[in-house]
Symmetry: C2
Subunit: 393 residues, 2 copies
């Protein structure tokens, strides 16, 4: 038997306490979680089963798979109907208001869990979990920093991968292979079902303006209608940009990073819009302190784009994305969200990917994305690397 | 505007009719679907939104993203609350028994959709959709065959990728890169939330016996506790096997294929168990005709393993998987399921991946996996390639 939790006791306690505080704020006394990302957050590893966090008792772990995990308050079950019996045996109080991950678990599963706890009032725990996870612990931030350093290392070698006549797809898969060689885990974890992506996007020329079915800033046309995202297989042409936005998951925690490469000479419009993105980042670094409003940060970015006359290219051209930044961590779409109607207020320990981008018709996408760790002393950039457009010539 | 459906009218009609028949069998008169795989099935492309299939009227399409899709009975919406108004405008009857994808959609979404149709009785459509999709059309089978041919092409070149001293991880990412060069789309679509995987598994030696949190036949230890699946980074050692089970999604439709490679000499136990797998396949090809029971096919496989004394290695050693085969198509876990308690009966047009595998402690995994198209004239192998263990020496 291997101990179930891979977290040090202190780290485990920190995370559970954070969840308990969010539970208290939301008014429920127990949480039964099973989403893989939540389980990884709570146990430092993925297992198939449930974690029961209650305000009054120690966490109890219910494992379906794998078979080799053990420890205190760890029990192996085949189905959730076995949970109440175990709680009784452990002397853990039955939940009265039970939080379930209703934004993530299927309707069928939630209905089943509700009937496992007929005496409990079941409520949606997804908001509380998102809030708890949006403020990272030092250990989580260390993983973000490590991913960022490796991510930057991969990007620094992208120009060396380009050869004349390459398509965006060929460049994309060369970057994927380099990333994997450097230890990228590949998996791009997305909460919920608003997006699909393989490993990342390399978008060149007109493909940048292909309207995406997914909730990305810009997705690219893709190689097949079954997965309309990413490179489209077109040759990278002079006068066009290549936007690289690929997976930075090297540690279980992701950084999100975009840089722009180019062939030949770009029109002034593209260069100026790219500079606008860099300037938005500079302003963000100044303003993104604990207590700052995510809505105000969005308005700053959108306002700068409008002031310089780039509003029709901002966050897309044929189709516009409704945000300019998002929380990132175990998953790519965490809190806070930097969007027009966001009510999020930045806190120390938030990790935010800011991606003010522009689509210039006939040229491609410009603008950069960095991942920032919000701290009392200001925003720390986890993906620090040259920001200007990098020539592939 | 681009036409929403990429399917020819006849193909579109075939699929919708198949879904309507399953709906009638299950007793509901309309289906509101939004899962990306279902949308791709119905429209030949992915979009974010809803498809309404009713028994009496033509399909109606509700698109949130992308913005550029149009056509008859296509409407752009921001939220599902707009759907009833559109139905009224189109003169489409309001659903009375409405099928929703309750095994896939979140509890929150289903509750929201229920309140959009307060007069309808909402029922679970997941089973009916699984049944409809389990029998493929000729066009779908053509995509399966094409994926299979490309999949086989990649596997034929695996020995050329191996170099002395390689780790399983190095081999895995070399195979990934080769697959991507040959046009593999990467995305490994899984229905529901029982599995996570990047692109495929290369499992060597002891890693084969690492109990997996996921519902795979065998998963491998992985490189990080955040994604405990696939290669573990150990050097491939003489006397060990390397099992390669990587993504065959080249067309939106997947084939599933496993072959075994080896270094040095393998013990007789491993060779005999591998032969048992080949023999199970031979028997399957004989028995897997329309009308055959999936349960009986499982019992045949399990029985052959037991007869030869391999039961403790069958479908895992420290942990055993509960099936020996599964339907495959747009997703990796479709119907029919070849498992002890399966009630599925094979039909012409089913696509089944059969994977009788054995974990031999200290050696690794053996056994092959093929994808079969079930037809009146017998099972056609979409992944036809040498079945014996292939030496990397």
């Amino acid at each position: 038997m291997e101990p179930l939790s891979l977290l040090e006791p202190r780290e485990s306690f920190l995370r559970v306490e954070k969840v308990r505080r969010a539970m208290s704020d939301a008014g429920f006394d127990a949480l039964l979680a099973c989403d893989f990302a939540t389980i990884y957050y709570l146990a430092g590893r993925v297992f198939d089963g449930f974690a029961l966090i209650s305000v009054a008792d120690d966490p109890v772990w219910f494992v379906k798979r794998p078979v080799h995990l053990g420890g205190e308050l760890v029990c192996h079950i085949r189905k959730p109907e076995e949970i109440p019996g175990w709680l009784e045996r452990f002397g853990v109080a039955a939940p009265s208001r039970l939080g379930l991950e209703m934004d993530l678990c299927s309707y069928s599963l939630v209905e089943r869990l509700k009937s496992v706890f007929p005496a409990a009032e079941c409520v949606n725990a997804s908001g509380a979990l998102r809030a708890a996870r949006s403020v990272k612990t030092d250990e989580e931030l260390a993983k973000v920093r490590l991913s960022g350093a490796k991510h930057v290392g991969v990007y620094s070698r992208i120009p060396s991968l380009y050869t004349t006549g390459m398509t965006d797809y060929e460049l994309q898969i060369a970057i994927e292979y380099l990333s994997r060689k450097e230890g990228c885990l590949g998996q791009f974890r997305i909460s919920g079902s608003s997006m699909e992506l393989f490993m990342g996007n390399v978008i060149s020329g007109e493909s940048a303006d292909a309207p995406s079915p997914y909730d990305f800033a810009m997705g690219g046309k893709g190689m097949d209608p079954s997965l309309p995202v990413g490179a489209s297989g077109e040759e990278i042409r002079p006068g066009c940009t290549v936007m690289v936005d690929v997976n930075g998951n090297f540690t279980g925690y992701m950084t999100d990073m975009t840089r722009v490469y180019s062939l030949g000479t770009l029109p002034k419009l593209a260069l100026d819009a790219h500079q606008c993105s860099i300037d938005i980042h500079r302003e963000f670094r100044r303003l993104a302190v604990p207590g700052a409003s995510a809505k105000a940060l969005y308005e700053m970015a959108e306002g700068m784009a409008r002031e310089r006359g780039f509003e029709k290219y901002f966050m897309g051209h044929t189709q516009h994305a409704g945000f300019v930044g998002h929380g990132v961590g175990i998953e790519i779409n965490e809190q806070p969200v930097i969007a027009p109607r966001s009510r999020d207020i930045l806190e120390a320990g938030n990790v935010v990917a800011l991606e003010p981008k522009f689509v210039i018709p006939g040229v491609g996408a410009v603008g950069i994305e960095n991942t920032y760790i919000i701290g009392a002393a200001g925003a720390e950039c986890a993906t620090d690397a040259p920001e200007e457009i990098i020539s592939l010539d």
